[in-house]
Symmetry: D2
Subunit: 346 residues, 4 copies
């Protein structure tokens, strides 16, 4: 079967992961990925058999690939011409420029959470607003943090009918492969109060009332959210009831920290490595069972977010939404996750 | 003048600092400090001229000091016999045992925040309940975190008449001189939800309604608090009004992070080193001016806590409270801080 | 085909990796792995289809597995009874006790580098002394550091005929999944001078004269070796000649750091994640091309060691040596590595 | 008495420390310090009573200080006009430009180790070449690393008559007050092999033959040197003899790590904080007694370097050398150190 033709514009941290996830699916395929020039990262595309395109369209830029021994199939325009949808995984600040190119090519487009909601006027999170994105021209998959918040807050909201949330985000200061950024020994508060992170949830589920504060800390593995959610009276939930709800929520893992000796993000990522997805990725949000407590109408909990990968399966679901081939978000999620598990022999 | 005779039981991280702070005052003096045995830490006492006692009373333990060339003036009982008040700075889990000794010696006693409130039935924080501690037999100076919360919350409470607070504590995982503890690269949530830290404020100011969550992160310098305080309606405050209140609060520093390039706890501690107290200590709580925001009745702010030293001046004030020599907390605080500044030529 | 029957005693950091590597080969198979009791780690064995045995032989210990829903095929003795060779991956200090059990079961045994050479009287490193291990009763695969040193030093020695080496080992203080150990912000010299690490090379290649110094630093990813090797006069090598030698050495990667922006161990491990072995493992030793310099007869170079995994393929080769089924170390290495690559679809 | 008039050009990490050290001496005084503009750092100068000058000479730059409430005594030229010697503590890359200004003002000048030897053609380390610097027009105090190497290697050289040294420098990646630089979790080899650090020793003691390799690690406290020194045969030394030599060397501390529980740079810096110099500085080089071992003619040892402060007393000695007021380096060192100890009540 010939599936949806997907282009990846930017084959870096997110791009390489989305490409693999697309490659894993039955109903879509990679028609090409772009790099700005020949570099070590091209080898990964070659090994996977993904056609390599140049981010730029000029002959000189394209010719540089051949000089280093890489086949280059053309420029970005050539790639867009043969694709149904493009996943924009280019570094920040290119949004407006790239959007114009995608519209000119008359294909659907998906941006990442580094871009502002205003760019697309529509955002996406699988459990929050898949239906709203059906057949849209383009969308923005929300950031790793917003995706993580949506995973646990949306089912809570849907049960309760209203929700008021405060979140302190303890963020990893740099990704594992980034040796430039600090701090080495300090805590850095984000001096924009409240921060933009929490309210971004409202781009996919405006009914949830949420604010956040953020700090960066000297670790590379995961973000951690310290969350307080005020439920409306009459919610009928217990701590155990909340846990059960999340146990039945896709892409959420609930585990007891003390019983399993998973007491920090280090052990969570070790669990992820054992699962066996490439790069040791953890697509799920990790909730500590013994870190959840409902006190009256106020729910306290911690969750950990793998900043490099939790949005990867959401991109796949977003493709299906835009292409209008799967109207039920749960069906898309099940399809996406089963295909990825099979791909990696999990 | 002969001042209040102060014994320090345990001359470690806190003990050595309290000893210096006592030494700086006009109305009190160190009559001795204890060590469990001869070690490098004894040199510091010798250099300062503090009489050295043994934590234990048996001859053999006392004799070990002389073997290593240190004068030892006797055992703990000998020290307690000549003191008016003892500051307990011994490591944890000795509270009950030590309390019995202090009562037997019929002297006043001050424990630190590592002990539980139940041990003494009375706790202390200078701005919160100095009056309540006047002439008491003994008390407990609350922990570094609780002291920090009291500094900024008590004046807020006193202005507003009621206060409801949630705090996420991002804790340094180990002290600067501790090379044993991790994590090196992880975030560790405290899986007791809510944590005990916030509610401890209610031992000194029960009218403040407070809960907290805590995480430990790989840094050694300071704790950071991410705080949300709900003010009662009609509070009449603005963000600027709150800042002014804290600018006029003793032992609170309010500075603009962006303007002064003090964007993390690293720069805060560098500021402390410039101030010039021994060990680079920061007795004050540091509040980022640009990290404070009052949104309706909800106040958001960040504060940083020097875990090794913010309780030091509180111990001095607590001595005056127990001895009944200064009924006005503001007067005691002013006296304490001026004497310390003079001692270090600040 | 029925291959060599391999038992894994201890299914932890090393055990789980060796099990996968054995599973990847055509000429051997896993007949069982041991765990001390039911725990999360058992799930990994279940998912892989490895029969689960109990480290202990008593009924009560074995019964605990069933209580938690795990099939347990028996105790260690039952496992040893059906195996040809056992890979000892149990935690330290069990060497003597376990060796007695393996001898009693009359099967071949392979210990890891955490045990002393004296336990087995024979050690193993693929390129150093495969032949010496042919048909032996048992051996010890040397540690990650010693394996790393052997990879680059043995070919150098074989070209030069003699070699005198000093190495400073900058060690990661804890593994990525270990959140207990520090230091968070310090450098820790190993105050045994010279350290035991370098001389351990002489258990597999006694002709290399080597000493070492070691320090631990606050990172989890890799060890790094800073090496000075004195070549005998008349060696005929150049810096480029040394690089070419290593480019042709199995399990050594030579890359230019500046050109590829691989300037720290963070980028090296990112490269490893891109390769795609489970757990993001790097079986190869990484040598920075621009960190190698031959000055007269003295060679300077840096190499990075993935402490969790470089010994994994050596264990496979050691099995073949003990079983006497492949006398040529290069043939075994090629077989091992090709099978692992195929297993992970690299 | 009116002493030598010292100007500090650049009142930052090094400048503020040198200013205090000058202020501590009997035979010299601070006549002014420069800042580029009004900022928090000016407060420190004001508190110390150091006249404040502007780095620039133009009216507008000078006027900015008054606008922020600081007295500014003039521009750099005004300061140079009243000084006998200027200590250049400005950030890098200004060397040539500043040297021209100092020569134009016809005063003596001292640069720091961030500048190249070629700038001044003369470098300085108290124990290495004080005599060579007597009455010179200007010099360069070598870097913290080179100063540290000189402290322990020069006496060794002087005893032995020749010395061949290899050093691996494990460097702190950022200073404690610097929150920008990484890496957070990686080891970074300096891919210039050999590195420039070791050979810089030869600018002050060319007779010592030395090379070095360097790596940066995620810590802020101290550098650590892993050193191998080859002594000439017939040196007559033992490990204990080397230790005795260093015990008698100024500005070297020799302590047993295991006995004193000083096993990492964290505990060394805690020792420094106990000593009580401002900023918790450690002017001495710290050598672990149990990390020194002479094996035949090869000496192995570790030493730790407080990168922020070990050069501070050397700057004072260098002033005396240039001004020709103290020909004996040991006499100058004794004078410098005693004055600093008295200044801080140590």
């Amino acid at each position: 079967m010939t599936g949806i033709k997907v282009a990846i514009n930017g084959f870096g941290t997110i791009g390489k992961r989305v490409a693999d996830a697309v490659d894993a699916q039955q109903d879509m395929e990679i028609v090409g990925v772009t790099k700005t020039g020949p570099s070590f990262g091209c080898d990964l595309a070659v090994r996977k058999g993904f056609p390599l395109y140049c981010t730029f369209n000029d002959e000189a830029s394209i010719a540089r690939f051949a000089e280093q021994g890489y086949d280059c199939a053309g420029g970005l325009s050539d790639l867009l011409a043969i694709a149904d949808v493009v996943i924009d995984c280019s570094p920040g600040k290119m949004g407006d420029e790239n959007l114009a190119k995608y519209k000119a090519a008359d294909i659907k487009y998906i941006f990442q959470g580094g871009e502002k909601h205003a760019l697309t006027g529509l955002s996406y999170s699988s459990s929050a607003n898949h239906e709203q994105n059906l057949n849209a021209a383009g969308t923005r998959v929300v950031s790793c943090n917003t995706t993580g918040l949506s995973r646990t807050l949306v089912p809570l909201y849907e049960h309760c009918g209203s929700l008021s949330v405060e979140c302190t985000m303890i963020r990893r200061a740099a990704d594992p492969g980034d040796s430039k950024k600090g701090p080495i020994n300090a805590i850095k508060p984000v001096l924009k109060v409240p921060s933009h992170h929490g309210p971004d949830v409202m781009t996919v589920k405006p009914e949830i009332n949420i604010n956040s504060l953020a700090v960066a800390v000297p670790t590379t593995l995961m973000h951690l959210h310290s969350i307080i959610a005020d439920l409306p009276s009459g919610h009928g939930l217990t701590t155990e009831g909340v846990l059960d709800m999340w146990r039945n929520t896709p892409r959420v893992i609930v585990m007891h920290g003390a019983d399993n000796r998973i007491t920090t993000t280090a052990e969570v990522m070790e669990l992820a490595r054992d699962i066996g997805r490439k790069w040791g990725d953890l697509h799920e949000i990790f909730v500590w069972e013994d870190g959840v407590s409902l006190q009256g109408d106020r729910l306290y909990y911690f969750q950990a977010i793998h900043q490099e990968s939790d949005v990867i399966p959401e991109n796949i679901d977003a493709i299906r939404a835009l292409m209008g081939i799967e109207a039920d978000w749960r069906a898309s999620v099940a399809k996406t996750d089963a295909a990825i598990a099979a791909y990696y022999n999990l």
